[in-house]
Structure formats: C-alpha cells, structure tokens
Amino acid sequence: MDFFTLQDFYTYTKGIAYILIVATLIGMAVFWLYLTDHESDDQE
C-alpha cells in the first residue's frame, strides 16, 4: 500500500482500526458470555 499524503495514511490505518474496534467490541461481549454462561447453568 502506497501513501502519498498523511491523510492517505490515516484514512487507511484508522479505517482498519474502526473495523477492528467494532469486531473487538462484539468479540469481547461474546467472549464474556463464553466465560460466564456455565455459571447461570450452575445456578439453575
């Protein structure tokens, strides 16, 4: 990937970062459910 301006660079890196942020937020919520769902089974 070639960058000719600073804006090119930030558009590229921030673009990927925003996609990762959304994926991380969803992933962390799912991971928390994975870690804790057996606890509700235990309580039942």
Binding site: F9, A17, L35
Partner: protein
C-alpha cells in the same frame, strides 16, 4: 511471636537454606565488587546499552509482577468482592516485597544509594517521566508498607496501631490504585523517548496503555501463581478460610485474567494497525513478536478460559505461570531484545554472569523474607485475637 529458641533447635541445614545461602553469599560478593569497582566491574552495560538486566528484569518485571497488591485490594475493598479477602494479605506482602526489592535493585543500578533522596529533595526533575515513576514507586512502597503493618502489628501485639491502620484501609487502597495506575503506565512511557531505538513492533504511542493493562493481568496471574506455591509449601499455615476460598480466588481471578488478556491482545493488534506495522511481521523480529503475542498472550487467554469453563484449577494454575513468564518475556523484549535492534550484533547487550547472579540474589532475598514472614506473621491465617470481621 518469633521464638529464637525454637528456631535454633531446628536444623538449619535444609536443601532450601543451603541453596539460598550459597546464592546470598554470591550476591554479597557481587555487591562488594559493584560498590568498590563500579558498574564496569560487574556488568556489560555501555553507553549504547545503559539499561540492562537489572532494569529489564528486576525493575520492569518486579514492578509488573508486584501488581497483585493493588489488583486484589481493589477487587476486595473497592469492588466489594469479599470472597477474595483471604488473598489480600499474601498479595499485599508480595507487592511490598516486590517493590522493596525493586528499590534495592535500583540502588545497584544507579549507585550511590545514600543519594536516593536527591531526585526528590535536592534536584527534582519534575518534568521527567522518570521523576514521576520514582515518586510513585516511593509513595506506593510507603502505602504498601502501611497496608502490610496490620499483619506485623498483630504479630507484635500492637493492637492500637493495627486498629488505626485497619480504619484507613479504603483510603490506602484508593491511593494504591491511583499510584499504580500512574507508574505502571509511566514505566512504558519511559520508552516513548526512544522511537528510533525500540523496534516498531514494540514501540507504540500506546505503550503506556500496554504496560498498564499488562500489569493488571500480571497482578491477577501472580496472585494465582503465588497462591499455588503457598498452598504447596505453606498449606499447614493456612486456616480454614484460606483453604475454603482457594477455589473462588483461582476461578475468579482466572476469569478476569482471561478477559484482560483478550483485551490486551486486541489493543496490541491496534498498536500494529495504528502505525501500519504489518509488514514487519514477516521479518525475524516479526516472528518473535508473534511468538510473544500468540504464545504468551493468546495461548494463556485460551488456557484460562478453558480452565474456567471446565472448572480445572490445574489448567488455570499452568496458565498463570505461563502468563507470568509472558510478562517477563514482554519486558525483556521491550528493554533488551527489541531495544537498539538496529545495532550490529557486536554492539548488542548480553548480561554478564554477575548481573544474572545479582538478579538471582535479589529474587532469593525476596523468597527468604517471604518465607520468614508467612511462617511467623498472620498472613495465610487470621490471628486468633483478631478474628472479628475486619476489612
């Protein structure tokens, strides 16, 4: 109370005492050489590599692994998770000894320990990140000392002093969390000044955040790791509450560590993304970076989660030990391996055997003092005279 007669009647020639004695003797010889011959007499440090093993291991790893104190006391006193109460005193003790040994190691590295107060009272460089680290470590060491005094006071029978400190628990915990947040991240911020020296995969504008988040998981893992060893070697010292709460501590801290490791993995990937360093991953340093990221972050995260879900204490304990090793690897990478990465190998730093010996000496001193304290003071059990509920 400490009974000298009892100690003298016991055989002192145990394998532990023998090995510890030899290491301490070696450490004393290196100490004499260090303070009479200077750094050059015992270290491989140079102008290119002014920070070596004593900073990379004794200080950076020591501070990170001593984070169990603030993590545990915050969990119990601030978040009110009382089922981890039995883990507080061992964690505070580990933290206190960790920080005390950091200061001891720093005295060897900096030299002239009688001038240790100079940065605060004589030539304060208040605009320096290093000043902030020094000030926070000093203040936090004092806080940890005060937090630990109830155990010592119960042992010595100083009831009033003990009760006074117990009333200050919440204040001390808050102070501990603030000071830890400041200096754990600032230790990473120290490297912000060297963007051209630290390899781009480890250098990031977010390195203070990396250091702080990794200190949390170091603290969580260290509490589990230290608890594992204590249950193995000091089980007879533990009261019913300690034995009963062991499972809660392991599963609770294991779950938290797994989650924090996942978050840490994510922000490390953000670090690569924000500086667009993906192309470095195909180099030799990239391979080593991936070993750290996948082997010492993703793998223990997975192990912790399996342990929590399968209710396997063994898996969590292995994950904790692996994470502790991972923290050491990370701090070594930042301070030693990836630092000055562009220099030819002839100019690269490798510690001398005396530097390694002194680090071993410092760890041994910590283990010996820890053993003495948990043997005589009410750390792993409630003192019979102070059984009433206390924070």
């Amino acid at each position: 109370m400490f009974k000298l007669k009892e100690v003298l009647n016991r055989s002192l020639l145990t394998p532990f005492n023998l090995v510890a004695g030899i290491i301490i003797l070696m450490g004393l010889v290196i100490t004499a050489l260090r303070f009479t011959g200077g750094l050059a007499a015992v270290t491989n440090l140079s102008d290119y590599n002014p920070w070596g093993l004593w900073i990379g291991f004794d200080l950076l790893c020591g501070v990170a692994l001593a984070a169990g104190g603030y993590v545990t006391s915050a969990a119990v006193y601030i978040f009110g998770i009382k089922k981890y109460h039995s883990a507080v005193r061992p964690a505070i003790l580990t933290g206190f000894l960790g920080y005390a040994l950091v200061v001891l190691a720093l005295s060897y590295d900096v030299g002239r320990p009688w001038r240790l107060h100079f940065p605060f009272f004589v030539q304060a460089g208040t605009t320096s990140v290093l000043f902030e680290v020094g000030a926070c470590v000093l203040l936090y060491l004092i806080v940890l000392f005060i937090e630990f005094t109830p155990a010592a006071s119960e042992w010595l029978g100083f009831r009033r002093a003990r009760n006074l400190v117990v009333r200050l628990t919440m204040l001390l915990t808050i102070l501990g969390v603030i000071l830890s947040t400041l200096h754990q991240s600032s230790l990473g911020a120290l490297f912000l000044i060297a963007p051209s020296k630290l390899h781009p995969l480890w250098y990031s504008q977010y390195i203070p955040v990396f250091f702080f988040i990794s200190s949390i998981l170091a603290g969580l893992s260290m509490v589990i790791f230290e608890g594992t060893l204590s249950h193995r070697y000091f089980a007879e010292k533990m009261d019913e509450a300690h034995l009963r709460e062991k499972k809660d501590v392991v599963f609770g801290f294991g779950k938290a560590a797994s989650f924090v490791l996942a978050a840490y993995f994510a922000i490390k990937v953000f670090g690569i993304t924000m500086d667009n360093n993906w192309h470095y991953l195909s180099t030799g340093y990239g391979a080593w970076f991936l070993v750290e990221l996948l082997g010492f972050v993703a793998l223990p995260c997975l192990l912790y989660s399996i342990g929590v879900r399968d209710r396997s204490i063994k898996v969590i304990q292995w994950a904790a030990a692996w994470t502790v090793l991972g923290i050491v690897v990370n701090r070594f990478n930042v301070c030693l391996v990836a630092f000055n990465w562009h220099l030819p190998s002839s100019e690269r730093y490798f510690p001398s055997w005396m530097e390694i010996g002194l680090s071993l000496f410092i760890v041994t001193v910590g283990v010996v003092v820890f053993k003495f304290i948990v043997t005589y003071m009410p750390v792993l059990y409630e003192h019979p005279d102070y059984k009433t509920p206390h924070p």
